[in-house]
Symmetry: C2
Subunit: 415 residues, 2 copies
């Protein structure tokens, strides 16, 4: 099995070797994402699964059960990546889903219910700033009008990207599944942290997914010549904004000291205008990402940041504006699935760790409509969204075994 | 004359009105710069000047004197701009140079010596990060090999840009003038500050030009997922770099309190990598611009900044590197030309203010080879490199009169 995992890991990553120098770049609705999807289709066909592409570009590889009209046991993740990301974020879940089918087929298992291995489209927000587009479509959460206006760095709208991917934007919301189509959904993902390892465990069983609050802070000062504008006659937007980076970091650190639920906050993007050597920065835009499964905690930090910006605004030379890009409730996962996963890992002899997810995943959309679960496998040093992202074949194999056991216990064997 | 200035200001800016909303964007060696150069040729031809373009793209509009082989009195500036800059930085000097010729022709002046009104190419560093390319070529300061590698934001080399401008990169150094070609050079420029106004004067006579020290600071941390990396397990390059912005500002302010010679320092550029919402910044690059005519003072601030970065480097999780992009001596201008300008302004009844220039200008290259002078006219609120940059027609007219008087007193009238 390990050899099969190794081989198909490369195939799904459309590569001959895992490139830890350049990583993988398969942005949403690009030719690169499509190539990975084609690899998925090929592997699924080798396993005799029936693959269909829905209106959002998600792939559904079905192992037909005896009860062809019964709700399916769905398992999956995604194959798109961030820019220069790794080959495991998303790919691990798709790969182990397919591998679980192989394990069960190899041992002659015949499912009573349908089993769907899903490859969701466009999970990462790297290109359009919006994440999990494919699973949002599945869960009926697409607002075509609002979403269609979103653009990438080159000004291409997501609508245009979807169309040039070969889909019809107008039909994207028809990818929605009905409640009766799916019995439960399970995702496997790399942890993107080190909690499993820190707790000397092998598998993480996730209770809740922390959805971010995202703020965009715009500080307007006055652009002017760097050489001719005296220090006491400036309205340098970057000088005004820089302490906010420190403030966000310090506040998040302090909250972790006094709160039991972890919280993280990051100033992760900056745009300076005009950003040239001989002009004082006239405008700065900062992007801030705040996460905790404790929704009240993350919102109170967002408020603190808004207040801090308000005090900056008291300078007559500055104009500071805070825009809330995203503010969603955290998602709690199905407790009976968590219990089932506890049983499965115990039986398999894997030490399981119950934890929260700081990252968003396709499962957070699926969980709104269907009983859903999420398991984590460790990744080396917690590194992800980086060419050095790595999960071992051993851990992928353990994940495969958990998924296979889950299918076995839920899809029912033909009697 | 004022109507002529108003009309030709628009013509040289290739516009129907001075656009204070969008400003003007005529980057180095682009179609937009070329259009302004074509406008220059048209105005020069109206004045019956002979225009030639040299191998660097500089335009020389000659009013032939009686002594056709004698060194010329050269006067000029540039017509390229920063991105969304104003219509006076550079254009004011070219316009008033041409206007001075008109004033003298209108009154029947016949020069003994040749008079060259120069429009230098590619003065601004906005596109390639290198400034005053045209006047460097004139003064024989071009290192073709080193300069040819410089690229713009789209990865286009300056060599490619020069070639697609219609020039031959290989010949660019042939634009160099010999010492005997020019007797003296005088540039008029907007002040880009408020010292003239602050000193209740009308014309600035410049003693020296402060050349910048420019540093590029690279801070490498570790990119990782914003949602899954606990606050105490991060190497956030932006968090590390942000206090440097504050430090540079504070140190420059303090030095101005204790030093008589002004100094300015600005963190004017930032590049964050990967600069996406859900990834902790793994690398930050800051560009720092430091200026003072006191070379020792500016270099000691640069050293302070290097030391500060050295202390940042002591964190095992960071790798901080400081690269010196530019470190040139300040340029002192010809004292006899300054005296002549003092006499001229006194005679004309204009209050003159003796001052330094915090900005680099074409004159700083010309001064290395030929006796050179620089005069400033006020610009509204000291604003430049900005759509709201503005100089009044009255001040342009005064500048024209100073240039005309300078030509009259140096080019000699045919007896």
């Amino acid at each position: 099995m390990k050899q099969w995992l190794e081989e198909k890991l490369l195939q799904l990553n459309v590569t001959d070797e895992m490139d830890e120098e350049n990583g993988f770049t398969r942005l949403s609705y690009t030719e690169e994402e499509k190539q990975a999807h084609e690899a998925f289709i090929n592997v699924a066909k080798e396993l005799n699964l029936d693959v269909t592409q829905d209106e959002a570009g998600n792939l559904w590889a079905r192992w037909k059960g005896v009860q062809e009209s019964a709700p399916a046991i769905a398992i999956g993740s995604h194959l798109d990546t961030v820019s220069a990301g790794g080959g495991y974020d998303g790919a691990a879940g798709v790969l182990t889903g397919l591998a679980a089918v192989k394990v069960l087929k190899d041992k002659g298992f015949q499912p009573e219910k349908n089993i769907d291995i899903v490859c969701f489209a466009s999970e990462e927000s790297a290109r359009f700033g919006v994440s999990t587009v494919g699973s949002k479509a599945t869960a009926g959460m697409i607002d075509k009008e609002e979403l269609g206006r979103v653009v990438d760095a080159d000004g291409i709208t997501i609508k245009e990207a979807v169309e040039s991917y070969g889909l019809s934007w107008n039909s994207i919301d028809q990818a929605e599944k009905s409640t009766e189509d799916i019995e439960s959904f399970l995702e496997l993902h790399i942890e993107q942290g080190t909690q499993i390892e820190d707790n000397k465990a092998e598998i993480g069983i996730v209770r809740g997914v922390a959805c971010p609050v995202r703020l965009q802070v715009t500080v307007k000062g006055m652009a002017n010549h760097t050489g001719t504008t005296p220090m006491n006659n400036r309205a340098d937007a970057f000088v005004a904004a820089a302490p906010l980076v420190t403030y966000v970091e310090e506040q998040a650190r302090e909250l972790n000291e006094v709160q039991s639920t972890p919280i993280v906050a990051t100033v992760s993007t900056v745009q300076l205008s005009p950003n040239v050597m001989n002009v004082i920065p006239g405008e700065v835009q900062l992007g801030i990402d705040i996460r905790s499964v404790d929704d009240e905690l993350k919102r109170s930090l967002a408020d603190q940041i808004r207040n801090y910006c308000e005090t900056m605004n008291q300078s007559s030379r500055l104009d500071v504006h805070v825009h809330t890009l995203v503010d969603n409730d955290s998602v709690y996962l199905d407790s009976s699935i968590q219990e089932k996963l506890q049983d499965i890992t115990e039986t398999a002899g894997y030490r399981a760790h119950s934890m929260d997810s700081g990252a968003g995943h396709d499962v957070m959309n699926m969980a709104v409509r269907w009983p859903s679960g999420l398991i984590f496998i460790p990744c080396r040093e917690g590194i992800s969204h980086h060419p050095k992202e790595h999960a071992s074949i051993e851990d992928l194999n353990k994940g495969t075994n958990v998924l296979a056991a889950y299918i076995e216990s839920t899809a029912g064997e033909q009697g």
